[in-house]
């Protein structure tokens, strides 16, 4: 479990003590174009959007939150398909067929200027 995930779990547990419990809207992944990915957990809480943003590495083993919200499973499976990230105990193959391109939403790496 990565540090970001422990943080998210703590936050979720703290939030779930509140009433009403926040509703999960979506799990968004976005390419940062340097081998790391944004992972955004979006919640609806008290009439507004609350989001928790984390940065994860390509080969991080991310803990699934499907045990807290069953609906998160499909969102995580989609991220596995689109970006090739790994979620613990979740398999991909949600949207893509074997004949489709692999990880279609990965973007080319940014060219980083080297120190001279």
């Amino acid at each position: 479990m990565s540090a970001a995930e422990i943080d998210l779990r703590k936050k979720l547990e703290r939030m779930s003590l509140k009433s009403p419990r926040p509703r999960l809207i979506d799990v968004i992944a976005a390419d940062r174009r340097d081998g790391t990915y944004d992972l955004i957990y979006v919640f609806h809480h008290e009439g507004a959007i609350v989001d928790h943003r984390y940065v994860v590495n390509e080969d991080d083993d991310i803990t699934s939150i499907a045990d807290l919200y069953a609906g998160a499973l499909c969102m995580e499976r989609e991220i596995i398909d689109m970006y090739g990230l790994k979620f613990n105990g979740v398999t991909g193959g949600f949207l893509l067929d074997p004949s489709s391109p692999k990880n279609p939403l990965r973007q080319p790496r940014k060219e980083v200027a080297k120190d001279v």
Binding site: V42, A48, Y69, G71, F94
Partner: protein
């Protein structure tokens, strides 16, 4: 202990309008497990929509034909937030009226579909007859039956004329008594009640756990409605309404939520027409979307629809993500279906109004 057998449903099946695959594990007549597979409609819209933010305006309507205007409204709202401008009051009201008109067509389709799935051809035809009235109305107003192409970033592309508004009002007057008749039929009808009451129950806790939205969650006693919080045109400018919800959580409750919302939409359209004042309808934007991100939400017929856009100071967008209501509602079917009989699988699946082109994008 009886042996478990597997029944495949789909991808091409009489009960579903769209292709998706359902693998049922059945013991005798009772469903003990279900596995759903999607992706037959996956085109790769999120990649395509990030290519050119102007073209996306037309492309996002083509994500789903049933809720096309909701998609484009959500997109332009998100872009307005990103650009930091606000659409004029008149544009917001026009959007609200057209969104409610589209909700009418979508809900009438869903109601007709469920009537057809339980084998009630007569009611199916009646719902579709009323639906056609709304379809010809939106054709007269926007010029298209399915894709309205009315939205632009910063407002609407073309104003609705005075005659157009009068036409909408007259059509609603004509439609309302017929819809009220249909509601009283759905309330009392024996066939529907016998087929749908107590079937496919989704408890309040399960509905929350599966993150369901829209009529699916409102049928299970969760009064979420983004129209109260998300979209500026509703609930802020003096439009009054209350979310409709039922506590039973069965197929009949979901059907009744849709039936009541049809009447509510007629009322909301009338309120919108009354609030309409003359004024500008477009605050045009210049330049490329800035490198920031924004959320936008609307209440589509199937529930909350969310767009998230991150720009990068170019014509291309860095990332556009859409969370469609069907993505969370359709997987919840596997929770409803457990313990149901095979004959009820059709009505249960249709009662969440599955929209596979939204799920797969």
């Amino acid at each position: 202990m009886s042996r478990t057998s597997v029944i495949p449903f789909g991808p091409q099946h009489a009960a579903f309008l769209e292709p998706f695959h359902l693998k049922l594990q059945v013991e005798e007549e009772v469903v003990v497990g279900a596995e759903m597979s999607f992706g037959y409609n996956h085109r790769g819209m999120e990649y395509a929509m990030a290519q050119d933010f102007k073209r996306t305006q037309f492309l996002c309507e083509r994500v789903c034909g049933i809720c096309s205007f909701h998609h484009s409204s959500a997109y332009v709202q998100t872009m307005e937030r990103l650009f930091g401008i606000e659409a004029p009051e008149r544009a917001k009201l026009v959007r609200m009226i057209m969104m409610e008109a589209q909700r009418l067509t979508s809900h009438l389709l869903a109601l007709g579909h469920i009537a057809e799935t339980v084998g009630y051809e007569n009611m199916f035809m009646q719902f579709f007859r009323e639906r056609e009235e709304v379809m010809t109305l939106v054709n007269r107003i926007s010029g298209g039956r399915v894709h309205y192409s009315m939205n632009a970033i910063g407002g609407i592309r073309k104003d609705v004329t005075y005659e157009g508004l009068k036409d909408i009002g007259e059509t609603m007057d004509r439609l309302e008594p017929r819809l009220l008749d249909l509601r009283s039929i759905v309330r009392k009808d024996r066939t529907l009640r016998k087929r749908l009451i107590g079937v496919g129950v989704l408890s309040k806790e399960a509905a929350f756990d599966w993150c369901t939205v829209g009529p699916t969650s409102r049928g299970s006693g969760l009064p979420h409605d983004i129209r109260l919080t998300g979209f500026d045109g509703y609930g802020v400018n003096g439009v009054k309404f209350r979310p409709i919800y039922y506590d039973e959580g069965d197929c009949y409750a979901r059907t009744m939520v849709r039936m009541d919302e049809v009447i509510q939409s007629v009322d909301l359209i009338r309120q919108g027409i009354n609030l309409m004042r003359d004024g500008p309808f477009l605050n045009a934007v210049k330049g490329n979307p800035p490198a920031a991100d924004a959320y936008g939400r609307v209440e589509a017929p199937r529930g909350e629809l969310m767009y998230w856009v991150r720009g990068k100071n170019e014509v291309q967008l860095d990332r556009i993500k859409l969370r469609t209501p069907a993505l969370v509602n359709v997987p919840a079917v596997s929770a409803m279906i457990k313990g149901a009989r095979v004959a009820d699988v059709g009505p249960i699946t249709v009662s969440v109004d599955p929209c596979i082109c939204c799920t797969d994008r």
